[in-house]
Symmetry: C2
Subunit: 157 residues, 2 copies
C-alpha cells in the first residue's frame, strides 16, 4: 500500500468511526416519541397536583415543586423531541401528533414558547409569595397554553 | 325531623361529600405507576443529552436545561408516586419496583434525598460556570445515586 492510499484508508476509517459515533448518539424515533409522551405525563401529574392544591387548601411548597417541574421540562428543549421522521410511529403508544407540527413549525415553536413563558411566570409568582387567587389565574393561563397547542397539533385519541 | 337529627344529617352529607371529593382526587395506582415510569424516562432523556454534550463539545446551556429538568423532577416529591398499594401493577408496563421499597422506607427516602441533592448540586455547578471536568465529575456522582437506588430497589427487567 503506498502512502496516499494508506492516508486515504486512515481518513476513511476516521470518517466511518465518526459516523458510527453519531449514529450511536442519535436517538431512535421510538425513543423520541416515548420521551415526549413521558414528558406530557410528568406535566399532567404535576398539573393535577397543582389543581388539587388550589381546589383544596393552597399548599405553596407543593405548588412550587410542581410548577418547577413543569417549567423545567417546558424550558428543556421539548421541540427537539419532534424532529422530521417522527411524524408517525409508536413510543408508549401511537403518536397523536398532527402532521402540521412538522410543516407549520413557526406556529409550533410559538406554542412552545408560550408554554415555557407561562410556566416560568407561575414559578415566579408562587416563589414570590403571590396569593392563591393570583396563582389560580396564572395556572389557568398556563393550562390555556396547553389546550391551545393540543387543539392545533394533537389528534384526539 | 327534629333540629338535632337535621343537623346530624347535614353533617353526614358534608362528610360524605368531602370523602367523595378526596376519592376523586386520589390518583389510581395505574396512573401513579405510569407517572413514575414517565419521570424515569424524562430523567433518562436528559441524562443522555448531558452525556452526549460532555462526550462531545461541552454545551453549557443545553446541560443546564437538562440538569434543571432532572433536578426539578428529583425535588418534586417523587416518593409520593410510591404509596402502599402500588407494590405491583402496570403503568406503561409492569412495575419493576422491589417490595423492599415499601418496607425499608427510610433507606428508600435516603436514596431519594441523595438523588435530589446530587442533581441540585449539578445545576449549581453548571450555572456558576464550573468547567467541563468538574461538571463531568458531578454528573458521575449523580449517576451513582441513580445506580445505587436501582441496585437496591429495582428488579432487572
Amino acid at each position: 500500500m503506498n502512502r496516499t492510499s494508506s492516508r486515504l484508508l486512515v481518513a476513511a476509517l476516521a470518517l466511518a468511526s465518526a459516523a458510527s459515533a453519531l449514529a450511536q448518539q442519535a436517538p431512535k424515533p421510538e425513543n423520541l416519541i416515548k420521551w415526549r409522551q413521558s414528558a406530557f405525563q410528568v406535566i399532567a401529574w404535576n398539573s393535577g397536583r397543582i389543581k388539587a392544591s388550589l381546589d383544596g387548601g393552597y399548599d405553596k411548597d407543593q405548588v412550587l415543586r410542581s410548577a418547577n417541574a413543569i417549567a423545567a421540562i417546558a424550558n428543556s428543549g421539548l421541540g427537539s423531541l419532534f424532529p422530521a421522521g417522527t411524524e408517525t410511529g409508536k413510543g408508549w403508544h401511537d403518536t397523536t401528533v398532527k402532521a402540521d407540527a412538522f410543516t407549520d413549525t413557526p406556529k409550533f415553536a410559538e406554542h412552545g414558547g408560550d408554554f415555557a413563558r407561562a410556566s416560568s411566570e407561575l414559578v415566579r409568582l408562587v416563589s414570590s409569595g403571590g396569593d392563591a387567587t393570583a396563582v389560580k389565574d396564572q395556572f389557568a393561563k398556563l393550562q390555556k397554553t396547553c389546550k391551545s397547542c393540543h387543539d392545533d397539533f394533537r389528534n384526539a385519541n
